[in-house]
Symmetry: C3
């Protein structure tokens, strides 16, 4: 397995064996995270966020700093050279001269892939268009593994916007590498994209439904997503479906005692605050896991862990 | 006295003994500031500024870096997840997974307090609403102590906007722990808030007036504040009072030779530039003191100094 | 030669001997850049960008980090205290308390000079108004020296906006210290400023023309600039001249085999992407050189290299 110099663009680029290796490396990073390290001393991460995402950006930055590296970057396209009409290709070919690794977030599908083709340094896709968010999928797998001690054999429900939410596309692909039962719960208009569905149906058992109540008693992991206003081409469509699913204490009561509730965050009102203090709520632990998984990825692509 | 793990929310949470300890620790930080240190190596400060304040943010960041730590954060709410509808509670419960301490600036009263109740890591209030700015009050005390060799026995005038300016609220409380004579000079509409006034009147001698000329000859410390346009609910009110007090060379000439002029900055035109080169003007030294006081606070709440 | 504590404001402040020293120091920084260094450990660079320039800002930041220092700052005036009406003088007298060196970018002519007069710490001009961009000129000289093994004896063409582009003003002055033949190619309305022209005409051979084809076969270095929309007082004027010169494979074919094409970047469409993969295109190497030249400048003004 070779990670040194590799780009992290799509979860589909990784075999189950490679994912296992990343998850195991992430586990070793928990100790490093609490002590600090000089593993990446002298290395620079550039966070190029053409679309704001405080959470993802700060997570990458914390990961780099905890490994002893440093960070440069920008937090939104408005303050970048794109204002002057520069294209992504030139930005990447410029910034690779400043940094040893680039974490890229971009509103357009394919942006991370294009960047990876051009750049001499590794590109880590921090979310591009509505297609891919591979590091989030790895964080989700890591969290499931940590909470349940395994991934195989679980029943998982993905709930909410399965059409525009890039997180669930990457996660569905990732889960299809395991022996799981997958339940896709969404309004009719926000069904999982057909190309994703087709790709995973060959590999695992998948059901689609609008009704969460039906599946809630039998699942082990409930993965909730925000219905993202900013991804809707038509706001009238957004108004119709927002607030469709709201996880509250009644949902929790109807589920298995050891249900694990995850959410990539930020949330708006899909999960009631009353749920936060239940043992089932693991979405803030998921945030912590985000740092160690990104530490693992940065250490791997920069060759500090082999 | 226990500072390790403690939040710095309101100046009212600190006894005079504790403040003395902070001021003494700040003094030891002057040597550390000039040499640099690894005291907080491996620690991360998150600066969450939901309201822009370059000065305060850079001061916190410089303090952290001079102690060998590192910094992540954002400089205005526009680029933060709040755009996606996230609430402060979730932001705090997320960022505490990235950082060892959080400096928070927020436009709403009570924001820092709420954050402190939720967070596992220490919260340092970098200014919240129009109520509190505890680190600025500590910087002001440190500066007075350094300039005058003492705080007890002094005559201090606070001038300008005493109603909306959070700095003067925290400072008035802090000064009331000492044996001082306090003169509050402001337009009628910008009088010190009644609840602050009542709280300090029990402890120290306080006068209120609109006329600065009357008190200028007898005071030791003149604390000038900006009339902050952004805090006025009504711009017509702002227009009426802006420029009411303007400190110039005539003001200086009418005062004691060893008057100390302070200002939390930024200023607009409350102090004429001609005053800057007088020995009385100490507001840029006050800026330097801001770094060492914040170094002390970060080192204390992170347990590096005990 | 004394660089410790010195401001880098205008290329005109430097003798040819001093420039040679900076270029030689830059060369030694190439090894430092790839290994990393603790040369500026404990030192802080403040990047005060009152005008956005991702490229220049990140280049300065990478330079500082590669020397082991750290960075604070802001990326645009919108989020700085200027919003509160603060003037540049107060910002500088504040930030000098936070940082050991300041890199300043400002839309107004003379801003860097004013800052340098006020500040106790060295100011490095990262571009001010339409007049000066001294670090870019040093990078350009360094790149020519590296590509050609010499500067004396070359034929150089500056193409595009020679009136509003600050880069070419600084570069023309710098080149006039060498024994070169300079060709200024621009539309009539974007001719090189008369004061710059007069200053360099005394020292070197200069021609002015609107026609690039005529000079292309004889030149050694082709320096292309963007026609900067944001510098035009009148957008109708901009519309008339944009796209006047477009360097493509035909241009390259008409030139000497060993032509060196440079561009300060970002570009819009002055150089066709097809040119990027020719050996003549050296503008991305120029970006890399930017980091080592800025490392040299930071190390010199902070006294780490003498």
């Amino acid at each position: 397995m070779k990670f040194h110099g590799r780009d992290i663009i799509s979860i589909e680029d990784f075999s189950r064996e490679e994912i296992t290796y990343i998850l195991n490396t992430s586990k070793t990073m928990e100790a490093v995270a609490s002590k600090g390290s000089d593993m990446l001393k002298g290395k620079i991460l550039a966070t190029l966020f053409f679309e704001p995402s405080t959470r993802t950006r700060l997570s990458f930055e914390a990961a780099m700093l905890k490994l002893g590296g440093s960070v440069i970057g920008f937090a939104e396209a408005e303050i970048a050279s794109v204002k002057k009409g520069e294209n992504l290709a030139d930005t990447v070919r410029t910034v690779e001269n400043y940094a040893d690794v680039i974490a890229l977030r971009h509103p357009l599908d394919g942006a991370a892939k294009l960047a990876a083709e051009l750049a001499k340094v590794p590109i880590v896709n921090g979310g591009s268009g509505s297609e891919e968010h591979p590091t989030q999928a790895l964080i989700d797998l890591y969290t499931v593994q940590k909470e349940k001690g395994k991934i195989d054999g679980l029943k998982v429900a993905l709930v909410g916007d399965l059409r525009y939410g890039r997180t669930v596309h990457s996660l569905a692909y990732a889960l299809s590498l395991y022996d799981i039962e997958l339940h896709l719960i969404s309004p009719e208009t926000l069904r999982m994209r057909r190309e994703v569905l087709r790709a995973i149906q060959n590999k695992i058992a998948v059901t689609e439904d609008s009704n969460l109540e039906k599946v809630i008693p039998k699942i082990d992991v409930l993965y909730v997503t925000r219905i993202q206003k900013e991804r809707f081409p038509d706001l009238a469509e957004y108004a119709k479906v927002k607030g469709t699913y709201k996880i509250d204490l009644k949902t929790v009561a109807a589920a298995k005692k050891d249900l694990t509730i995850l959410h990539p965050l930020p949330r708006v009102d899909e999960i009631a605050p009353e749920v936060d203090s239940t043992p089932q709520a693991r979405y803030f632990q998921q945030v912590y896991n985000g740092v160690v998984v990104r530490m693992a990825l940065l250490a791997l692509v920069l060759g500090a862990v082999r």
